[in-house]
């Protein structure tokens, strides 16, 4: 078959379904296990950071020690021993690579295998610039020169801290303060790398920007930090992808993404999350505890989150929009698929503060196997947010008798001029639809995949094209073995 839903080759040697499960054999520079002020000092020193940042890290760490891990989500997992993790691991390199030619070929190969081309000349169309983050550090960022022509800054955040301290100092932690929550606080103390983006006034970023996260090292937490600043009247579309090797123990990933959107600017943030989900009995897999938040600071600003979540053993994630500027717009489009023993508690928050702000939430959840999935969302309208609008739709599809699907939308309205609408449905794939497909000769598994892709369509069409194709394939892979 040669259709857009075509199933990719997924058979690797072990016959397992997660094709990104390999481990790269590369020497790493790793800090000792455990978390303490000394470890934080070490990380900061290794990265050659300025004092103000070290101070912030320590402040966050001291606060974190007072916090308790949240338990309100519908998630159950063994207690994480935060002292049993490595907080810093970087592929050994003599000096920071100045160009791609200096990057370890083993690393380049890894990304090639993952389908992420890092060699610029190999990309014919040249429409995506990539920042590749391997364990705790950024190993390569492509197309920087071309972006620089337009004044766009796209670089590892560790570099931005040194090169653009004013921007970083001003905005880092301004959307997600370290006091925000347990995982965000931990990240603020120990984050190692991530991407930094600045789009200057009035610039439409000439290509999609993309970060590709890869956890490789064992027992290592990944704490990346992304900061995107869209200055007045600018536009950028940003993509994020992630994978991890197949390991029997759980890997911790606690990231922060902060987006600042100024007047008339727009940011489109797309994620295809495909961390290793664990095996079919729930062994191994990534714990994905992520805080993502965008602040629409200026009038007429807009943020749009699109996510396709198929991986991770545990997902805890609520990409949010703070709609501060008048007429600002927040959107959240999400497809989450859980199978086997995966658990996901995910959703969004739309905080309406400015006048005429509007938000839209489209969430499609698919649970199969013995997985459990929760949509948890908040729409909040403050007293001053006149004429706020929200439309939310949360649909869940259940496949098989042993899965669970939960929907908990919170709505808090303190302004009478707000118009808020929420709809949610839960059902299984209709037998009528399945029969109709089969009557036309389509096999059951293929029919399910057709129907599920149809169910997700509204969200998928918000993804950039190449991403959408990749995502459709992922959906099919994730559902394998869930039918019949």
């Amino acid at each position: 078959m040669t259709t857009e839903q075509e199933k990719p080759e997924i058979a690797d040697e072990s016959g397992d379904k997660y094709k990104y499960g390999f481990v790269t054999d590369i020497a790493s520079d790793t800090a000792p296990k455990g978390l303490s002020e000394d470890i934080i000092r070490l990380i900061s020193q290794k990265k050659g950071e300025p004092d103000w940042l070290l101070e912030r890290r320590l402040e966050a760490f001291r606060f974190w020690q007072k916090l308790k891990e949240p338990t309100w989500a519908k998630l159950s997992y063994d207690k994480i021993d935060y002292q049993d993790l490595y907080y810093y691991s970087a592929p050994k390199q003599k000096v920071a690579p100045k160009s791609l030619d200096e990057v370890d070929p083993e690393l380049l190969k890894t990304y090639e295998k993952l389908g992420i081309p890092l060699k610029e000349q190999e990309v014919l169309s040249g429409v995506v610039a990539v920042d590749a983050v391997f364990d705790s550090v950024s190993v390569a960022t492509t197309y920087r020169a071309k972006l620089a022509e337009k004044g766009v800054i796209f670089c590892p955040i560790s570099e931005a801290i040194k090169e653009y301290p004013e921007l970083v100092k001003k905005y880092l932690g301004s959307v997600v303060p370290y006091t925000d929550n347990f995982f965000a606080c931990l990240n603020s103390a120990v984050f190692t790398d991530g991407s930094f983006v600045y789009i200057p006034k009035g610039v439409r970023c000439p290509m999609e920007l993309s970060t590709y996260f890869r956890i490789n090292a064992q027992n290592t937490g990944q704490f990346e930090r992304t900061l995107i600043i869209a200055d007045e009247g600018s536009y950028v579309s940003y993509l994020e992808g992630c994978t991890a090797p197949q390991r029997d123990e759980n890997q911790l990933h606690a990231a922060i993404v902060e987006i600042v959107v100024l007047k008339d600017a727009e940011v489109k943030y797309s994620t295809v999350q495909n961390w290793y989900p664990g095996d079919k009995d729930g062994k191994g897999g990534v714990y994905n505890f992520v805080t993502k938040r965008a602040a629409c600071r200026g009038a007429n600003s807009k943020v749009s989150w699109t996510q396709v979540e198929t991986g991770s053993a545990i997902t805890w994630k609520y990409p949010s929009c703070i709609l501060q500027g008048d007429n600002s717009v927040g959107e959240f489009y999400s497809v989450a698929i859980t199978n086997n023993r995966q658990q996901a508690d995910t959703g969004t928050k739309m905080i309406h503060l400015g006048c005429n702000t509007s938000s839209k939430i489209i969430s499609k959840g698919i649970s199969a196997g013995r997985s459990n999935q929760t949509y948890r969302g908040l729409v909040k309208v403050s007293p001053n947010a006149d004429n706020a609008r929200n439309y939310s739709q949360c649909d869940s599809l259940l496949i098989g008798p042993d899965c669970g699907s939960h929907t908990i939308p919170y709505v808090e309205n303190r302004n009478k001029t707000a118009k808020l609408e929420h709809e949610a449905t839960t059902s299984k794939i209709s037998e009528e639809q399945l029969f109709y497909c089969q009557q036309r000769g389509i096999g059951e598994e293929e029919a399910v995949s057709l129907i599920v892709n149809g169910f997700c369509k509204e969200v998928m069409q918000h993804l950039p094209l190449e991403f959408a194709i990749e995502a459709a394939k992922l959906i099919n892979i994730s559902l394998e073995g869930s039918v019949g």
Partner: protein
Amino acid sequence: MGELVQKVELMGSDLPWLEGLREKGAVFFEKQGLPTAKTEAWKYTRPRDLLADDFILPPLEEEKENACTCGEHCTCGHHQREGEDFLLQAYVIDFENGALEHIAHNLPRGVTIKPLIEAIYEDDGIRKYLNKSFDMEKNPFAALNTAYLEQGLFITIEKNVMLDKPLALVHHSFSCHENLMFHLRNVILLEEGAKAEIVEYYNYSGNEKSRYFTNIVNELYIGRHAELNHYKFQDEAFKAVHIAYNAVKVKGEGRYNGFCLQRGGNLARNETHVSLTEERAEAEINAAYIMNGWAVIDTTTDVEHLAPYTKSTQLVKGVVGGQAKGVFQGKIHIAPMAIKTEGAQLHKALLLTDEAEIDVKPELEIYNDDVKCSHGAASGELDADQLFYMRSRGIGEEEAKQILVDAYLQDVLEKINNQDIKDWLAAKAKLAK
């Protein structure tokens, strides 16, 4: 916190099991304490007023005269109620300030209504049902209610008996005693094939500033093929706290049909927890609230589908004015084996003023794939064009608003099967009291 739990001599203290149960209630309440912002089940409703330490149980009959604190301008005479009686055709049971006053005579055959304490002493069957329909560890106020078990009713409607008129439980509060608290427990049993309508009416008619706390627990058991229509109108004093917990168990092909109109109280919560325990059991929970001032009115539902082919629907509509806050929390839970179930829920609210607030938390919790569930929520304000249109035809603003509010509540009121009760409640669901 201990202030709500007081050492008092209640009837039945010579029954060790009853004393033990009360003791347990007190312990469970104290263990949980009053709900705080962190209590998920009470996220939007904080019963702060109950933190006060001055609530007391109503004085005994012989002490009443002396205990009157209403002073010089006592208008209550011998504490006679002046409020409106229940005028609809019904078998009326009157309560005054939390104490049973009168049970209708001429009850049809097959219907027994006993004061709770009497049923407890007679001990013919009530122990199978008393305190068996909820979990005290998760319901602080039901636990508190248990600590004070004494007042209330045990109602039995025997197999296949169909009541010709509603039973009306009319609660008059008019006391000039300040800071009373009433804890009422009704255990209502519909045997197989029985059919009944029950109306609860909480009516305040005393000194308008009276502050008191009503804490009600209804345990409703609906047998196979039985049907209960349960109507409630809550019109407490504007400083009152009213907390009601309805635990409903429905057996195979039985049906619970609830409607609650809330209009009074400073803080009021009507919580209904229905368990559909056997195949084809059904529940319908509808509610309306209309509020002004700075009240908080909370409608909380939790429907558990525990068996296949069960069905539930909910429609809740509210109108919030003044600086009031409306709260709706609704949960539909579907157990793993409850296949072919259907659950639907819709909440809508209208905000009338700039200070009004509405907080909503609907919840679907589903553990099996063979289901059809939905919920919806919407909130908005009165349509300015419609208002203007009516005013341009000479209708005054307040009246025009009322017309629109009437239209807004129309569909939920339509859910009431009994025409008299529908008319009565429609007349009560007004912006101005």
